[in-house]
Amino acid sequence: MKGIVILSFWLSVLPGMAAENISFRNDREGKSFYSDKSHERDIRRVLRRVALPEINESFKKVLSKLESKSLCAYDLNQSLKNELTRYSNQLYPYEGVVYQLRKSDLIDDVVARILLNAQKTVTTKLVPKKESDIYFPGGDNSEKIMVLIQEFEEKFLKNTCFDDAYRALYADVKNADKELDSSKMEAYLYKAQKENRVSVELYKSLEQARVNGLEDASLSLKAYYQKIKSLRTQYPLRTNNERSNYPTAKANRLNMSRRQKLYQSYSDLQIIMMGNIVSFVRARLEDTRVDLVSYNGDEITHIEPTTPTDRFNYAILHLRRQITLLSTNTYFSGRTPDFIDDVLTAAYEVGITPAVEMDTLAGLKDVWDPKKSFWQKSQMWVRSFSSVAAIAIPAPFGFVPTLALIVIEATSGNKNKGSTQVDPTRWFQQ
């Protein structure tokens, strides 16, 4: 009996003590965000120097040595480069290696971006500085700040990744100098290097970090791994084969994909909350009956059925309401996520929405925010210039631009009902 208890104990503990297999395999993304001609060109240049199996094997080897507690993009990049020197010493763009790893689905676009950002930071060419160009701010805390920079390696870098360490340094420096900005940080670092408080190599690294704005919140490899692990534990994927191009499409007005934006901007809990909105709305869209019930006290006085399109509009209003209410949630702190880039991508990420439904659900936005045709967009300008032309052109020829205006307004595209045209026969309108 005692033996069974001890055996059970070890059987439950041992798996956790075993080394965790780190994997960044792509399990959701379709066509990569990094798949245009320039990326393909870099891949070809790499493959002329190093074979594809060698790249993949090297990466797997490097990954096998990593632990979840110390996942660093900078270290991973360096280890991979070291591993690849066994096969080729010739120059090739390291970015091409990352693109190839993505093409092989060994990593996804989010990891690719993290690795590429790290690579970009360490390869940033620094402009030589003249002392006369640097304005040192001075102040009571300047010595304290110098000490912080001096102790960077010992205090910050010892047990964390370089980017996290730099962010921690920046935060402490900002505590000492409330008006810290990039130019001041530049001056502090320069002075620290001049006073030999830090080595030239370390100064170079810190300066590269400053130039690339590493102090701004950016997704680290470790943070991403933790998020994805949490999501996959709570929402295991029904199938590992599902892929979609929706999350890898470019996010609106940003130079990153929707999925990259999602993980960079939201925590795993926020992603789950956004995904649940879609789950809720999907159920509303599937409802077969919606009645408006009137009560007087506890007594039902009237039941008003709704039409199918009323139900549809009701579901859309629900969706918009839920998204807006998120901003009042403490986890979102006043931030309203975007339906197309954030909410839908989150729903796909946690497996609530299958890939085949993504574009259809994205099309729901046209109901309350329809895409405007070229004519509709240009109507405002046509109207303005026609009005001026109508006055400026002498009578009776002023008819012409006015007539043109009327014809354009009458014939341009689909009529957008919008909220300004209320149809009293419909219960719900956008």
Partner: protein, 404 residues
Amino acid sequence: MKKTISAILFSSFLVSSLSAHTFDAVVRDGKGAKISEVTLNDLTSQNSFEGKYFKIVKGKDETPISFTEKDEKLLIKAATTYHHLTVARDYFVDKLKSSYVASLKQMTIRLDHTNQFSELGHYAHDNYEPQFNNALTIPAGSGLASRNIKPWEIEIWFRPSKSIHLNDLKVNSLGSREVKSLMSNYRNQIHMQSVQRFLAQNVTALTVDNMPTSPLALDNVMRIVGSSLMIELGYQFIDPLSKMFSRKWYSLETALVPEIIYHEYAHAALSDSLVLSHSTAIIEGMADFFAGQIADSPKLAMHIKKYNTYNGKNAKRKQDYMIQFEMGEYANTDFVFGLLWELKNILGENKGEAFMYELRKTLTTNSSIRTDLIEGIISTCDSECDRPFNDKIRILKALNLRGI
């Protein structure tokens, strides 16, 4: 020997029992129409327009029209209706695999028939409001034995054409409202523009020395006021003006318009679900849809001015839903036709056609557009669509855009 003769006689009987003859008929030629030779199949008579599925008669006669009919126009009508009804029947039987249509008994097709329909007596009195410029599909009736009125099967009646003056036409006002609204907008713009021009000229006169013409000069004022006055007069007299420039006489020869023939047959083909009791938006819209499918065109009875001077129907006309479309007097607008055509394109040509045919099972003649038709579409999609959730969303989006 006897056996051989019997075999020869039997086979010739078989051949002659379903024979084919060629006649001139109206057929579509691209967008327009022309008279062309067609082969009429499944004829059971050697000398008249009687076939396995259709019997073409004139008015209340029961005798089919002879091939040697002297009235050439009647002959063309007989050939045209027989030909296109056969096309329509083949569509329902061969393409849609309709067992109901395949089991329909021989239909009597009445040409140049002016009597109104009576559910009891088959025909209303000869003098009671004779009908023209129309076509009608009547349900089967059990007759009235006490009055020697025999039972009848489903029939299609084609009225003769008659030129009717514009003033005697009863049209719904929906179209003219849109035109008036545009004119009102234009009038308001012109008045505003005149006032603005006058004000701009006055401001310019105050700020600029030595202007060539004074804004208050008579010719300038007359020009500005005159242009506004012209538009105002045009707006106020828009109805008589549009009548002045419109076509005066309207007529419709229904038996010579292929899509109308298809439309009427579609009523018969759908009568297993959509009872032929009265005209409603749903029953007319569904018939229009299948007429369009058979004709392979979203336009019905258009580009055939020789036989139809009215407006036809166009599935691609952009129309938003109006509550008036639910009313019987607006049953013949093309809103439902356009809606079903659009939904067919959303689902795909082949899938959409089969879908619409299944849709009829969820509808009745009295179904409303906004509730029953849409519910029917959604429930049909649950069973017929490849991806019900996706397709339903796309359908509902399209319906929402139409203001339903």
